[in-house]
């Protein structure tokens, strides 16, 4: 599956603002998709798509804050940059508390917006990288036999082979063989690496 490039999703009910943002972002080479309402965006929302959301905080119908809530409910990781008007600071604070990366007040300097968008895209990339790594670790873990999983658990708890052999009531040699398999299947270069991978796999998300 060929992954689409990271996209800036712009949601603003004001056509002029929307279109001008599209051109502005296009001028700096960023792929843009625009939506006239929060609902329109939600209808086509694909959590797998990389990018960030530029969201007008005030809109008729579903407001920017409500859309953010919807996305949070769907465990979206897409970073949100809010565009606020004059006097919308209380709403901006609320948006930040709900996990927005940033906000910018209209009218704004283009570079300020682009910087914020780039930071958001960077964050998206990071998060998607982490997600991908975690998915790989989980995939590899899923290839382990039950005995190998037991060994993995005990190894990552820092237990010596001899102790593990006692716990599992097998020979020390058997533990060593399983351990080598786990290291190989997980692609771990060291015990420290393996421990990190297990922690990663247990993270939420």
């Amino acid at each position: 599956m060929k992954e689409k490039p990271a996209t800036v999703f712009v949601v603003d009910d004001d056509e002029a603002v929307r279109t001008s943002l599209r051109l502005l972002l296009k001028s700096v080479g960023l792929p843009v998709e625009t939506f006239a309402s929060a609902q329109e965006f939600l209808d086509q929302f694909d959590p797998d798509r990389a990018g960030c959301l530029v969201l007008d905080i005030r809109m008729p119908g579903m407001s920017g804050l409500e859309l953010q809530q919807h996305l949070n409910d769907r465990h979206s990781i897409m970073p949100v940059v809010f565009i606020t008007g004059h006097g919308d600071v209380p709403m901006a604070v609320e948006a930040m508390q709900a996990g927005a990366v940033d906000f910018i007040q209209k009218p704004f300097r283009d570079q300020d917006l682009i910087d914020r968008i780039n930071r958001a895209l960077e964050k998206d990339r990071e998060m998607r990288g982490e997600l991908r790594e975690r998915d790989e670790i989980r995939r590899r873990m899923s290839q382990l036999t039950p005995r190998e999983r037991e060994v993995l658990e005990l190894v990552t708890q820092g237990k010596a082979n001899k102790v593990i052999a006692g716990d599992l009531n097998v020979s020390q040699r058997t533990v060593e063989i399983h351990r080598a398999r786990v290291m190989e299947k997980m692609g771990a270069s060291s015990l420290a690496h393996l421990v990190r991978m297990v922690i990663e796999a247990h993270r939420e998300g």
Binding site: V17, K26, G85, P107
Partner: protein, 642 residues
């Protein structure tokens, strides 16, 4: 006499006494008749012959009753017999007036004196008869004369009063008795001063009379003073007096005619008072009145009319032409002339407000109302009033200015409440412009990658959005700027669309949608669009606040226009907010009544006065299912049943 009668003389067998008696009898002017106790005539004197027309011989021996008419004739014997029998004396020595009868049967009045000749048995009687026809006639004439004089006195509609020198009433006529309330017989002989004068005047008037009688002063020809009637009522009498003088030329009394002027004075006083009242009222009201006949003739101006015009009352009323030229303000002259010409032509009412210029060049506003009637010769009788309404005009102007300032203030205040929405509305195009400009800069920095389409879009949009921002500002300016009210003919749908520029951003900020449901084919309205938009914004602002406060799930306000049953345009703002409680409804529209923390309490009051000035009204009703619907009406343009 008896001894003389007894003496006899030789000649003719008569005694000397008889001859003497005969001579006396014949010389007597009065008729002398002697009768015996049976009534038979014994002696009948010459004068008796002349008076009764009988010769002595004809009557001597006949009963004296022949000389009198019935019923005395038949009764006479009875009188004598009664006297002789009883000695009762009815006539003897007394004399009386009786009626006698001549030989020819004619009757005439006589004075009769009867004497009894004693010493004879039976006695005889002697009668002296004096013809009193002439005296009777004179007395009768005098009586008639007196009666006529009395009749004149009594006929006189004034009191006539004669006083003698002691102040005693010697004569008073019927009118006098009527005025004084006394019967004549009780009044005559009384002292005038103590009977008929009020106590406080008594001394002065009496002293004055005393001086007339002294001859010190002559009686005043004319005087007025009060009198007291028998019942104690006071009356004001106007007196005319003359002095009565005796044969020596001394004042012996006064004769006065007195007229009761109490009622007249009261009426004059009433007229004077009512004229004074009218003058005062005119002065207080600054209202003058006039009458005039056109063409030229009698004219009257009331004092206040001169005062209003600053004209000289001594100069008298001006002819209309002069009034128009000198008093009517030059700018109002044409209007005045038209109205004036019309009423002179057609009659009817004249009702005009115009200005006048006074001689000192000051200008006053006046309201003239006149009624004109045309007589058969085509002359106009004009009766009218002129009311100085300058103060009222100035007060009206002041109220209008205050109202304008309040309206303006309220509009600014409404706009202040909508400032956030408007700031947003201007921010949008500015943001877009900034974005386009910055995009262009970037695109032009790498010309190879530029698509012509993007350049066109950016440049086109920059100017379009600048215009958009400019338009918002222009509307805002025209909405808040201090302005004179002006009426335009406008399509209600457009009016609302224009107003939405302000209302929508505000609603959007509150996450409220305004849905406009415009009626189809509405006729245009004549109104001041800014003022009506002000009213609408106020209502929408209130609807937004009510919706927010209610936390209503339906965040929608419906703005509807329709033609109501009365043919007026109705504009309603329907929300699903908190609604209007009955105690709020009671106070709604009272200036400074507000339910909002930062409200001025002027919005609805001013909206109401704006609508009143437009001939419309403001009202509210509950929205079915909760909330309030506030609506107003505007009269549709007549004759535009599009």
């Amino acid at each position: 006499m008896k001894p003389a009668l007894e003496r006899k003389v030789a000649r003719g067998g008569s005694t000397v006494a008889e001859l003497e008696l005969r001579a006396v009898l014949d010389a007597a002017v009065d008729a002398v008749i002697i009768i015996d106790s049976d009534g038979s005539i014994e002696t009948f004197s010459r004068a008796a012959e002349r008076l009764f027309g009988y010769a002595s011989a004809e009557v001597v021996g006949r009963n004296v009753s022949v000389l009198m008419p019935e019923p005395f004739r038949s009764q006479h014997d009875g009188y004598i017999a009664h006297h002789v029998r009883t000695g009762e004396n009815r006539i003897i020595g007394k004399g009386r007036e009786v009626i006698a009868q001549r030989r020819d049967g004619s009757l005439f009045p006589v004075a009769l004196a009867v004497g009894r000749i004693d010493g004879l048995d039976p006695p005889r009687f002697v009668g002296f008869v004096h013809d009193i026809t002439d005296r009777k006639r004179v007395v009768e004439a005098l009586r008639r004369e007196r009666d006529r004089a009395q009749a004149y006195l009594d006929l006189a509609e004034v009191m006539l009063l004669a006083l003698d020198s002691s102040g005693t009433i010697s004569l008073v006529n019927r009118k006098g008795c009527e005025i004084l309330g006394w019967p004549e017989d009780e009044l005559v002989g009384r002292n005038w001063f103590s009977t008929c004068l009020p106590e406080e005047l008594r001394g002065d008037v009496e002293a004055l009379y005393t001086r007339f009688f002294d001859g010190t002063v002559s009686p005043a020809h004319y005087a007025e003073h009060e009198i007291v009637t028998r019942s104690g009522e006071r009356k004001l009498i106007a007196w005319r007096n003359v002095a009565l003088r005796d044969e020596r030329g001394l004042v012996s009394g006064t004769l006065s005619s007195g007229e009761d002027v109490t009622e007249q004075r009261r009426a004059i006083e009433a007229v004077r008072k009512s004229e004074q009242l009218l003058r005062d009222a005119q002065s207080i009201a600054n209202l003058g009145n006039y009458e005039t006949t056109i063409p030229g003739g009698h004219a009257f101006w009331s004092p206040q009319l001169y005062a209003i015009l600053g004209a000289d009352p001594a100069a008298g009323p001006m002819p209309v032409e002069e009034y128009i030229e000198h008093c009517v303000h030059a700018d109002d002259r044409e209007r005045f002339l038209q109205a004036w010409a019309r009423i002179l032509r057609e009659g009817g009412p004249f009702d005009l407000e115009y200005r006048i210029t006074r001689p000192d060049r000051s200008v006053r506003h006046v309201h003239s109302i006149a009624r004109v009637s045309l007589d058969p010769e085509g002359r106009a009788q004009v009766v009218g009033t002129l009311h100085d309404i300058t103060d009222r005009k100035l007060a009206e102007e002041e109220i209008r200015q205050t109202q304008d300032r309040l309206t303006q203030f309220s509009r600014l205040s409404t706009m202040g409440e909508m400032a956030a929405g408007l700031a947003h509305e201007i921010n949008q195009p500015l943001t877009a412009i900034a974005n386009y400009a910055q995009a262009l800069q970037r695109l032009l920095a790498a010309p190879a990658d530029v698509e012509q389409e993007d350049l066109d879009l950016a440049l086109g949009q920059i100017s379009a959005q600048a215009l958009r921002a400019g338009e918002v500002i222009r509307r805002l300016r025209s909405f808040v700027k201090n302005r004179e009210a002006k009426t335009e003919i406008i399509d209600p749908t457009r009016l609302i669309a224009d107003m939405m520029v302000f209302a929508e951003p505000d609603a959007r900020l509150a996450d409220i949608r305004i849905r406009v449901e415009a009626g189809d084919g509405l006729p245009p309205v004549a109104c001041d669009p800014v003022q009506i938009q002000q009213v609408l914004l106020n209502l929408i602002r209130n609807a937004i606040d009510a919706t927010i406060e209610a936390g209503a799930s339906s965040r929608e306000i419906v703005l509807r226009t329709r033609l109501d049953e009365g043919g007026d345009i109705e504009v309603s703002v329907e929300d699903r907010g908190t609604g209007i409680s009955s105690d709020v409804a009671e106070n709604i529209g009272h200036p400074f009544f507000t339910t909002k923390a930062s409200g001025t309490g002027l919005g609805i009051a001013i909206s109401r006065s704006i609508l009143r000035a437009h001939g419309g009204r403001l009202a509210h009703r509950p929205t079915p299912g909760g909330g309030a619907t506030v609506f107003f009406t505007l009269p549709a343009m007549p004759g535009s049943d599009k």
